[in-house]
């Protein structure tokens, strides 16, 4: 007997062969075997029996695994509530390893990783969840939050949208509103013209979606102001006042809306009304103070006398000279230097009543030029809605 190409003999002790497996005992070229039908029957029977056994074993194992995974999940949740994120991650990972198809365990793991600051791990876990179901609302919301933490605003916005229009197993409306509010907060923080447009687009559907409670309506009203839609904000606050006439916050809200429109006197009236109802409101006090500062600075206010108007224009000029000199200490062009000199001259001129009106015009003109120069040379943000000078100057420049 040879082993084929190796051409070496097989020893009789080969693999300690017993007669049944011994190659020396050559079976006939075709063994007799059992009757064909009986063999086929036995094989079919074996398949049926084995299938039943396997199914039973698999079901039992799956049930046991699910129970164990549920226990680990509860443990993990307990660790989450106590702030022990690493232990929670360990439990959730084990639970997930036992029941791979569970979105809940995967989401819990991702949330734990997010809470522990393991953003990359959390992102990978959520990616895995979204591969299985890209419409999963909670997973999309979590990924949006991860992107917010990572400073990726545009990605975050996209995933917030997916969360808003995604599938939520329970509390869909509330969760979708929650996701939308988070997106709105993100957009409100960005404070750019584009983000204001997006913000407004997100706020409009909220009016009908969200619950009709006063707190939510007030929040929406404030957000309309941030989004640059004071008229809508005022409508919202007026509706609140219709339902609750003594609501100080609604008066403050109307004041904010009027302030945003540039109606500072009306705004002041509303803030005062709010303070009458709630004198201790720091926020309203702050708004009132800001409004007063704007009113005191604006030379174009109606009802202001010529002398007062001149004083205000000089104040404006002085503030602008200070600001532009601070930011352009080393980088003063001849034009700018000439402007500053003109401003200094105007500031040093004695006030003469007969020539006050043209002087006011000149002062305002100089102040506007310095404001524009500051804009181009210093590249500073000149649109701060809480800065009285910026509010007045931007209005004058327009």
């Amino acid at each position: 007997v040879t082993s084929g190409g190796a051409s070496e003999p097989i020893t009789k002790k080969a693999m300690r062969i017993k007669p049944s497996d011994n190659p020396g005992r050559r079976p006939e070229s075709r063994e007799q075997g059992r009757p064909f039908l009986m063999t086929v029957g036995l094989v079919v029977l074996a398949i049926v029996v084995l299938f039943a056994i396997d199914t039973f074993l698999a079901k039992t194992e799956k049930a046991e695994m699910r129970a164990e995974a549920a226990r680990l999940f509860v443990e993990g949740q307990r660790f989450m509530t106590t702030g022990n994120h690493d232990q929670a991650i360990d439990r959730f990972e084990s639970a997930l390893a036992m029941t791979r198809d569970s979105q809940n365990y995967g989401l819990a793991l991702a949330e734990a990783q997010f809470a522990a600051g393991r953003l990359t791990d959390a992102e990978m876990t959520v990616d895995d969840l979204l591969q299985r179901d890209s419409t999963d609302g909670p997973a999309n919301l979590l990924l949006a939050r991860i992107f917010v933490k990572e400073g990726k605003s545009s990605e975050a916005t996209a995933y917030y949208h997916r969360a808003i229009y995604g599938h939520w197993q329970e509390g869909a409306a509330a969760n979708q509103s929650k996701a939308r509010f988070e997106l709105i907060d993100l957009l409100a923080r960005q404070n750019s013209p584009e983000s204001k447009q997006e913000l407004l687009a997100e706020l409009l559907p909220l009016e009908t979606e969200v619950p009709d409670d006063l707190a939510t309506q007030k929040r929406i009203g404030h957000l309309f102001v941030v989004a640059g839609s004071p008229a809508r904000a005022e409508d919202v606050f007026r509706e609140i006042l219709r339902r609750e006439p003594q609501d100080a916050d609604a008066y403050t809200g109307i004041g904010e809306a009027e302030f945003a429109r540039g109606n500072y006197r009306t705004a002041k009236t509303e803030f005062l009304a709010a303070l009458r109802l709630n004198p201790g409101s720091d926020e309203t006090q702050r708004w009132l103070g800001l409004t007063n500062q704007v009113l005191d600075l604006d030379p174009m206010q109606r009802g202001v006398g010529v002398g007062d108007r001149n004083q205000r224009s000089l104040k404006l000029l002085e503030l602008n000279v200070q600001l532009v000199t601070q930011c352009a200490v080393l980088n003063q062009s001849p034009e700018l230097r000439s402007l500053i000199e003109d401003a200094q001259k105007a500031l040093n001129q004695p006030a003469r009543n007969s020539r006050q009106a043209p002087a006011v015009e000149r002062n305002i003109d100089l102040a506007e030029k310095l404001w524009q120069a500051r804009l181009t040379i210093c590249k500073q943000n000149t649109s701060d809605p809480q800065d009285p000078l910026a509010l007045v100057m931007n209005r004058l420049v327009q």
Partner: protein, 594 residues
Amino acid sequence: MTADQSRTVRARLDRALENLRQRENQLSLVLSLVIGALVGLVVVAFILLTGRLAARMYPPGGAGWLRILVPTLGSLGTGYLLARYFPFARGSGIPQTKFALFINDGRITFRTVVGKFFCCSASLASGMALGREGPSVQVGAGLASVIARNLGLSKEQVKSLVPVGCAAALAAAFNTPIAAVLFSLEEIMGDLHATVLGSVVLSSATSWMVLHLVLGDNPLFHVAGYRLVHPSEFAFYAALGVVGGFGSVFFVKLLLKLREWFTRLPRWTVWFQPVAGGLTVGLLGFFVPEVMGVGYNYVERVLNGDVVLKVVVLLAVLKIVATAMCYASGNAGGIFGPSLFIGAMIGGSVGSVAHSLFPNYTAGPGAYALVGMGTAFAGIVRTPLTSVIMIFEVTRDYSIIVPLMISNLIAYFISQRFQKEPIYEALARQDGVHLPTSESRAQLGRIRVVQAMRPAPAVFSTNDEIEETLAKVRDEPFDAWPVADDRGLWRLIRNRDLEEAVSEGSGNRKLSEILVADSDERRPLAETLPHLHPDHNLSLALERMGTSGLNVLPVVSRADMRQLMGVVVLEDVLNAYGVRKAAGAAQTGELRES
């Protein structure tokens, strides 16, 4: 239904089945499906049984002493059973399957199948650091063999069904249907072009479907998506190939040395030799529980980047020692699973070092652990193609395939260079069996017809007279002669036909007259003319000589059947194989062309 009707139905069924048995091709396909389903179910049962028993025998977080006691008692019990009742169920099952296929006519007994199933389940469940895949292969091959022999199939059919069972088993055990096909061809058959390919694919797919039906669609490992971070990272994967290659060589050499030592012990110690493995793994498991069992759970954690350098290095070393000891001492279980474990730990170690040194140029350690699995598999089992496909199927991650190929090939070449004999051949040799290697089988099939071909000693014309032709060939040793017409080779004329024609008084007739009489002109020449092509395997020449009853066959061009390129003579075939006839017995006379 009356007794007569019942008998009639049964007789018809018997006849239908008997007809099926006679049609080998159809039967082979049907059996591939049946074997695929049956083996798939058996392997699923094997996996579930092993897992459930293991969870009860040494539960995670259980008492430390239990981790020493369970493997020790388990190896003692299975050791006795293996020595007393199931001697062929020891070890991996791959060498035994190859032995059955190449030496024992595909014969694996049902007793061995049963023994392998239960002893291996008990052994793995008690915490042996061995794998379930090799044993599954033997169980699958055994079931295929048992079914085929009970159906009364021929030896060749039985042998052709053994790789079918192997593929079905591996497809279910690893959840890797393509790798299972490749493994059956690359390792078991040693021939990627084996004719059983269709049946192997069918059984693998059937078994995989059964697995999915029962256990659902779960890959063996859930792995995060990895990608190549920087082109220079190939260098780190190459380094992993080197480390994995030497790790594989160390593991194989240690296992073979230990096994050699165990085989030299007195025969009466065989039944309790496995205790040495059980005790070793128990003591190691007391301190490091991850060493016990297959350890796929821990592999998955490492694949997902949960790597602590000291721990993975320690686990790589301990697993090598534990597996080598468990296998060498004669426990039932394979080395596939441990290869993956060792590879993942080696990969995790290399990746951890690389990532800490060059964090911007390298992926996390998990990616290296993933590639490391394939690297160790290629180095230990020496099936590089299977290992690449297997890792791809196990993880379903395509992006890692190029680094995997680089690393695998380096490990494969290192393993070939420093451990000449592949592990399964070496294990069989320790048992006194010399399995044919894939190289030797390839060598056998490498002798071609062209190497034994000689110019045709004579070619007769269709117009030659019969008597004249007979006079020329009467003293020659060849049984037949080529006959050509104006378009080239046309027929072979046998000496016997010439003699018959002369004795019947037709000696003055032309050759074409007797050849036309007994030939069917409508059939193509390829069917009526026994022939060979120069690139045919020489074994085919022997086969066709046997079928046609001739000691000489014409060799014709593949491009033109009528172009005679020479002849092959039986004596030359035997010479090519080194079997020389007695001198002068086959001297051929010089014949002039007619």
